[in-house]
Symmetry: C2
Subunit: 284 residues, 2 copies
């Protein structure tokens, strides 16, 4: 869930200090619906909560009582199987809502762990539903978040279905970049707070492979990796690479042809096509 019209100002202007309370007006502005703000929404307050790096915000099996709107920091959403293997389902950043898997269920089936010190707005589901009856914008917000969550699952599956690990990583980077830029952040310079192992789990590959692919993409000039900071150097080339569904070319041929001028034209054509799964993030 990203805010479609968020400006950098509103992003930074959002309250993020612990102990601070946050009004429904703040939340609505945050989601790009300042027109829905009223004196009534000014009076509705939600609690904010700080979560330290490595701590769980939601635990698997916990009764479903509230949703969490990420105000700052980031989380990984995980599901642990009987043998203790941790599957990373998603990464939640700024503006995402955590806990939607519990909607209408008795308990959460996935947990959420903070990847860095973070701050969330707590939205008790009972309150939210009650308020939603009087303030349609709040009800809409919930539905929008749920729909977006389902949609994003499709993106993730598309990501995981890629035949080569190189493509998976490329798609992951582009998806991540796109979400960042939708929030008014840089879509080129990315801070990856998660470990390589987390990324690997999310993509369904070995963590060594993630490491190798990142190194390879760096060598080939697609990206620039420095520890957990990744810069997308050649966005259009990366976009081309990510498109490969099957029977991809060898790295040499790609470097010679695909990455040339033609790429840019193709990106534009693809970008304007309807129903695209991954958009090429704007240069910022």
């Amino acid at each position: 869930m990203t805010c479609p019209t968020a400006s950098p100002t509103s992003a930074t202007g959002f309250p993020s200090r612990t102990g601070t309370r946050c009004t429904a007006s703040d939340v609505l502005r945050w989601f790009g619906r300042p027109d829905q703000v009223s004196s009534a929404t000014d009076l509705i307050e939600f609690q904010m909560r700080q979560v330290h790096a490595g701590r769980s915000l939601v635990v698997e099996g916990q009764p479903f009582e509230k949703l969490h709107l990420v105000s700052s920091g980031s989380f990984k959403c995980v599901q642990t199987d009987v043998d203790g293997y941790e599957q990373v389902l998603a990464f939640a950043i700024h503006g995402d809502i955590i806990g939607l898997d519990g909607l209408g269920q008795a308990q959460h089936r996935s947990g959420a762990v903070a990847l860095e010190d973070a701050c969330v707005v707590t939205l008790p589901i009972r309150d939210l539903l009650a308020l939603g009856r009087e303030i349609p914008a709040l009800e809409y917000l919930l539905h929008h978040a749920a729909g977006a969550e389902v949609s994003r699952c499709g993106d993730t599956q598309y990501l995981m279905a890629a035949p080569s690990s190189e493509v998976r990583v490329a798609r992951f980077l582009l998806q991540f970049a796109r979400r960042q830029s939708a929030l008014g952040h840089s879509g080129r310079r990315l801070r990856m707070c998660m470990t390589r192992r987390d990324i690997a789990s999310h993509l369904g590959v070995a963590h060594e492979t993630v490491s190798r692919v990142l190194t390879a993409l760096d060598h080939d000039g697609y990206i620039s990796v420095s520890n957990r900071d990744i810069e997308l150097v050649d966005l259009s080339a990366l976009y081309e690479l990510q498109r490969v569904t099957r029977g991809r070319q060898s790295r040499e041929r790609r470097a010679d042809t695909a990455r040339q001028a033609a790429a840019r034209a193709l990106v534009k054509a693809a970008d304007s096509a309807a129903g695209r799964l991954i958009e090429c993030p704007d240069a910022r």
Copy 2:
């Protein structure tokens, strides 16, 4: 989304003829909430629609206006990328709600194609939301469906993240069986209406691999494949196989040891563990 307390009687008793209208009471009973049925819900009618095999119920990019409750038949939910590659996101059967990806969005991002002649109940979202205000059970139904959809995404990711294709297929079969048995159908004898290619797309493997794995599982006595009818012969062995997360044994060793008596005990132990991702379906 499956009905937790559905009995075979209520399943077959649900109206499924085209042209028939279906009341909110029918829908509530269908979802195991007969206590919520009232004279008011008797008066609310929803249209039913028949969809022939191969026809689209929802098209990608279509404006979001309604949800569809599958009354009979089955569907595949798909997302097509710019190059025409079709990613199968899920299979919807009896009792599932199609179109939740559009909730709170302007349009659908995934489509739905009937795998066989099917019948659905059309739930216009405007009506549903309006009715939800007066009849909380209907609102709850929507939320429950949305939460279940998100949860199921986790299952699918777990499925796709499996390191070996054998495990992916095993998990897929068990998931499918579990959903069938939750509806009061057999969890052993499965009718797979989708093509091998559809399964392959959903699992993120080559369609040849699906074919090979099914043949292998048949030879090893796990299942019995006859065209699109698959019988799960040894459920506990299949459950054991599915658990393998990494570094699996060779097929011979498995056949010698794991499939023996020990398996059954392990299944029971695992079955009672909380938070399991895939339950071992009951024998029916």
